[in-house]
Symmetry: C2
Subunit: 302 residues, 2 copies
């Protein structure tokens, strides 16, 4: 019987250990400190865990020794670094203006807006340097394909594009967000990097069909993740969430809750999760972690 | 007789044309518009021109047809994109809080702080996607080496690291900037990306010795560029400069002028330029553009 909690704990420890040793030298002590403050401040590490789970499924291997992951660890770290930079910038006063993240003061609250902005920039830049480490273990053509894929997923038509759509959804930009708009925003803002986490290993180890399947899985759990976030944002307190609650209300943002209500949003999220699972069901027992992670997304309460 | 003005004009037109066609589709019209606003707002295009000049010197070719540059154009565009993102973030209220850039309102003055921050993020991310286009024309191993080199030059121990040192030089961070500190800041903030522009073509076309020579040239003109900037910042009006003058004074920043005075700073800059030229003198006539660009940096008045 597969036990997700232990699985996530074991895998997140492997990532933490890799992240802890990643950035140790910098011409500015303050910058290094700011980068590591956010990088080492915990979080679920879902994206790097998806990298590992996808790798295991494609190679049909259950990995016991952390060393077996060294071939994908640069990818696992890079997606977490990109996620981290996006949180730092997202929390800035110019954006969500959030003071709390994972129960701790946000980066700019500790280091100031300028250094927080630059810590985000440095993390994003270094993520691509880290991706280049894949070339120690993989054909250079494939590594370039991964760099292309990750940059597209994170860029103007991926994560950052989705973030701008999200910002324009503020009641003052003249945008009237309908369901399509919220889907496009969620795919971009949340789905694209999750998609890259789960589909990039297929570039290294799989076929085009594997890439397609894992893209389908990734986009679906990404949008479900955003829907659950909206539900939690509307129904949870600051203490439970570990970050400021009801922030969307404060910012006049239209959410899935506004268009569908809490119950219907939960139903739609469940539908996305079922779709996600259907994309990986054909991989048999080795798909179990990805299936459990999909279920976990719908069940999480913080 | 080599004529620099015409050379710069011809080469910058080639870059402009490539940059104009680079970003045309985006899920957010506003983001695309913000990215292109800064990318197409002129500037000297020194970094991409250095890419082309370095290529010509290494291949001992005088190029007449723009098409001959298609092999290095992704690199030329990428360094200009990275330079552009850094200017957008540098102008933000959280940083230099500058309203004017190249005689036009800065990005955040037009698009707001949030979209300007994200336009910078998108440009930085897409720069690495653009670098991947080099793989159409070069061995993938070399392309990965270029991506590594550019990301290191732009990251925590390169441009961004230098920017943080620069920010901490504000009279309130407890830093007492001496000449070493200003050199380290200038190498990082300005020298590293210039170095990457001129040395990356040597990764594609040259030897380790070529990389070393062009690194030496790039770092020296980079620091000279910063010294001349300090001189211009202290002696020029807003109208002449096309951006706010005396900004360093306003921000309590210690500059080369404060430590050395205007005349001695000019002398030091001249010394750096002579050093730069010595690194490329052995390449004969094909080094002429790089030598003239070095001379131009010391002679520029805006």
């Amino acid at each position: 019987m597969f036990e997700l909690k232990g699985y996530l704990k074991t895998k997140s420890r492997i990532v933490e250990s890799a992240l802890n040793n990643l950035f140790t030298n910098c011409i500015s002590y303050n910058l290094l400190s700011a980068m590591n403050y956010s990088l080492k401040s915990g979080g679920k590490r879902i994206r790097p865990i998806l990298v590992m789970a996808s790798r295991d499924m494609l190679l049909k291997q259950e990995v016991k020794d952390p060393i077996d992951y060294h071939n994908v660890m640069p990818l696992a770290c890079a997606v977490e670094i990109i996620h981290t930079y996006s949180l730092i910038h997202d929390d800035l006063p110019a954006m969500d203006n959030d003071d709390l993240r994972r129960g701790k003061p946000t980066n700019h609250k500790v280091y100031g807006d300028a250094v927080a902005t630059l810590a985000g920039d440095a993390l994003l830049t270094e993520a691509f340097n880290v991706l280049c480490l894949l070339s120690k273990h993989h054909e250079p053509e494939k590594v370039i394909d991964v760099i292309k894929y990750v940059s597209r997923s994170s860029g103007m038509n991926g994560m950052v594009g989705g973030q701008v759509l999200d910002i324009e959804n503020d009641g003052v930009h003249g945008v009237k967000p309908d369901l399509d708009y919220l889907y496009k925003t969620s795919y971009g803002k949340t789905g694209e990097l999750i998609k890259a986490s789960v589909a990039s290993p297929a570039i290294l180890y799989g076929t085009t069909k594997d890439v397609d399947n894992l893209e389908g899985y990734g986009k679906a759990i990404g949008v479900a993740f955003q829907m659950v976030d909206d539900v939690l944002g509307a129904t949870t307190t600051k203490e439970q969430l570990g970050k400021s609650a009801h922030i969307d209300e404060k910012n006049n943002k239209t959410t899935f809750i506004d268009l569908l209500g809490v119950d219907e949003t939960k139903k739609m999220a469940t539908k996305e999760i079922e779709k996600a699972k259907s994309f990986v069901s054909s991989y048999g027992t080795f798909a179990q972690p990805l299936i459990s992670i999909a279920d976990y997304i719908i069940q999480r309460n913080h």
